[in-house]
């Protein structure tokens, strides 16, 4: 039973979730009069069929991993950071501003410099909300949402005042030395926007996994998140821990923004809305139930669906709105995998009931990370 359940929760449940999502999507497409099989073939060939497509999927997952990690770290400390997008935006601005301010530095200095600038800017932005929460008990949901707007309009004002070229609404391109996208990678992936930033994202995944599981700070973050009073009683400082988790969270989001600044766009434009990596990052983190390794895969799933989804309407006459509904239903089922877990547990219930060991409890015990860490 035990082995079977591990196998179930490890592979069968996510796969079933995805399958059910695809099935619902297929029903929707069929009801709307479009061919689901052709569309799914287009979707997966559009995401994985060419080096260009794979490059785009990896590129689109790169910032999502960082913002999702940012959300997860704050969430472990019981802090619901909705300000991911704003923190990413200030990080994006800082990275581009740094790169354009020091155009003559060699790559070995300018890239780390721009990344540090982005991380500091993001940390500063989240730190404001962290400080108010830690020392004045201000609700972080409100403060981070409001800081998002301040970030959007303040960065727009700065870009318009100091960074635009002529009449335009965008800054000039960053110097070649600062670009994470290189001619070699473009050649390799048929001019996709794939860039070296993915190395940073993957390193960050393992670093955060290590930080949360193996360090004192990680332990404190989790302890404060579970029960602030108990943590205080145990001699930890909840205020310091909240600040630390929020600074790490903001720094990660800032780096996520730098991925857009140094890798994807290589400049910054006057944005009409907050960058989507913010809210998508939150979905990725929730989908992965806070597990850093899970975030790696969830971000790749998001990238596959969003890049593959574009191909559906390009290769057929299916409107993008239908594609969005299909993608949303897949994500919905993956997110609602608890239901599927519950069904599996019911199906595999031993024929003779053994009191005290219900199958459901057994399954959840295998995954203490999942579905428990998300709280507001």
């Amino acid at each position: 039973m035990r082995i079977k359940n591990t196998w179930i929760s490890g592979l069968a449940i996510p796969l079933t979730s995805i399958f059910l999502g695809l099935l619902l999507g297929a029903i929707i497409m069929l009801l709307s009069g479009f061919d689901p099989i052709a569309n799914y073939v287009n979707m997966f060939s559009g995401a994985l069929g060419t080096p260009n497509a794979i490059g785009e999927v990896l590129r689109s997952a790169t910032p999502l991993m960082l913002t999702a990690l940012g959300f997860a770290v704050a969430n472990y400390a019981g802090f619901f950071n909705i300000g991911l997008a704003g923190q990413a935006l200030v990080g994006w601005l800082a990275s581009v501003a740094f790169a354009n301010a020091f155009p003559h530095l060699p790559s070995i200095l300018i890239i780390p410099g721009a990344l540090i600038a982005a991380a500091l800017a993001g940390a500063f932005w989240s730190g404001i909300a962290g400080y108010f929460r830690a020392y004045f008990g201000a609700n972080e949901v409100i403060t981070t949402i409001m800081l998002n707007y301040i970030a959007l309009y303040a960065t727009n004002a700065i870009i318009k005042a100091y960074m635009t070229v002529g009449d335009g609404d965008y800054s000039k391109m960053i110097p070649k030395a600062a670009r994470l996208r290189t001619p070699f990678l473009e050649q390799l992936t048929q001019n996709s926007t794939f860039h070296y930033g993915i190395i940073l994202s993957v390193v960050a995944v393992f670093f955060i996994a290590w930080l949360l599981k193996r360090t004192t700070l990680g332990f404190e973050i989790r302890a404060v998140g579970m029960n602030e009073d108990a943590a205080l009683y145990a001699g930890m400082s909840p205020k310091r821990t909240i600040m630390a988790s929020m600074l790490i969270s903001g720094a990660l989001c800032g780096l996520g923004g730098a991925m857009e600044g140094l890798g994807n766009f290589q400049n910054i434009i006057v944005n009409t809305a907050l960058p989507s990596i913010g809210f998508d990052g939150m979905s990725v983190a929730l989908l992965a139930a806070g597990s850093p390794i899970g975030i790696l895969f969830a971000a790749l799933l998001f990238g596959t669906l969003s890049i593959g989804g574009l191909n559906i309407s390009i290769a057929s006459t299916t409107p993008p709105e239908i594609t969005s509904i299909v993608v949303a239903s897949i994500i919905f089922f993956v997110g609602a995998n608890y239901v599927i877990r519950y069904w599996f547990a019911k199906l595999h219930k031993p024929t003779k009931k053994q009191p005290g060991t219900p199958a459901k409890a057994e399954v959840t015990a295998q995954n203490p990370m999942e579905n428990k860490e998300v709280r507001s």
Binding site: D169, T272, I314
Partner: protein, 354 residues
């Protein structure tokens, strides 16, 4: 319990079988029309869909018209559009369209500048058209810009000739080079007719927040403004809602943008859309696609559409005949070069006749 679960599973299997079975027999739709890969055209939106009641919609309607005129199929080898859900989708969309072998790719909006430029350099055999932005020195890119300020000037004239309170308003989407032209033209138009009319300028800060557009417009109407011109894309819907709320108490007007927005102004007692400035994004796309078909693709060139070229215009709408006569008069003066319309709000006073 158990039976219900088994039933559930059976139902699931049945549904799966039905869906999979049905898939096989379904044929691709929209098979009307022919394919012409050498002249196929696709459009990439600058965010949002082709139903934004504004810029992207106008472009797509022009492309659709062109496709139907040449009896082309909607889809690969004919004409189609790719929707960008965020700015990060521009490059993947363009690359996917290139892989689908579209001969010409249209980028609607200044935001696509960098993506189009880069793709054009990497794919010299594909033709590109960028709207509202100029890409220089690239032989496979044609640029089209609009003198929106000229249309907005006429909107200003219409507003000045219609207002009873001597107070008019302008609701912009976001400060940008393009919206600057609308604001400058409108202010100059109003001031040319009557410098005593005050113009209340407000910006939503977003092209898709009708709620903010509505509150800004309500405040203006409360302040005795009776004509508002909006250049706010989707946020402009809020301006119309605000007007419909106050129309029961007093007469107010809204001037639409980019497309004929008469339909947006319908209310129980009539229509409150005074007129609309039309931006010929669709006409421009149609023209360039036709030129490309005839082997005259204007690559490397920038075409500017103003009143003279009929690229921007103001329709009569619900304007009074007296106002319409004055508008036509000013239109002729602009076409003849007697009036130069400012492109930036800061320059308005410079161009006003003393």
């Amino acid at each position: 319990m158990k039976i219900s679960h088994k039933l559930g599973m059976i139902a699931l299997v049945a549904v799966t079988a039905t869906v999979l079975g049905a898939c096989g027999s379904k044929k691709a739709d929209d098979t009307k029309g022919k394919t012409d890969p050498k002249n196929s055209v696709a459009l990439v939106t600058d965010g949002g869909g082709v139903d934004d009641k504004s810029f992207n919609q106008s472009g797509w309607e022009g492309l659709e018209k062109w496709g139907k005129k040449h009896d082309l199929v909607k889809g690969v080898g004919g004409y189609n559009y790719a929707q960008s859900n965020s700015d990060a989708d521009f490059t993947p969309n363009i690359n996917k369209l290139i892989q689908a072998k579209y001969a010409m790719i249209v980028g609607t909006g200044y935001k696509l500048h960098a993506s189009v430029e880069k793709a054009a350099k990497a794919n010299p055999k594909t033709r590109f058209l960028i709207i509202d932005e100029v890409i220089d020195g690239q032989k496979n890119v044609a640029s089209v810009t609009f003198r929106d300020n000229e249309g907005a000037f006429l909107a200003g004239v219409a507003a000045a000739k219609t207002t009873k309170t001597n107070k008019v308003g302008f609701v912009g989407g976001m400060h940008s080079a393009v919206i600057d032209r609308f604001e400058a033209g409108f202010r100059q138009g109003v001031a040319t007719v009557n410098p005593k009319i005050s113009v209340d300028i407000q910006y939503v800060g977003d092209f898709s927040k009708p709620a903010i557009g509505q509150s800004l417009a309500s405040a203006m109407f409360n302040n005795n403004v009776d004509v508002i011109y909006h250049a706010a894309g989707g946020s402009g819907a809020g301006v119309f809602s605000a007007a419909k709320n106050v129309i029961k108490n007093k007469k107010v007007w809204v001037i639409g943008v980019d497309q004929d927005q008469t339909a947006e102004g319908k209310y129980a007692g009539g229509n409150l859309t005074l007129t609309s400035t039309i931006k010929g994004v669709g006409t421009a796309i149609e023209k360039v696609a036709d030129d490309a078909m005839d082997g005259k693709f204007p690559g490397g060139k920038t075409t500017v559409y103003g009143l003279k070229e009929n690229g921007v215009q103001l329709i009569k709408g619900n304007m009074s005949d007296a106002a319409w006569t004055v508008v036509k008069d000013y239109k002729q003066q602009i076409i003849d070069g007697k009036i130069t319309v400012a492109e930036k709000p800061a320059d308005v006073n410079k161009y006003l006749k003393k």
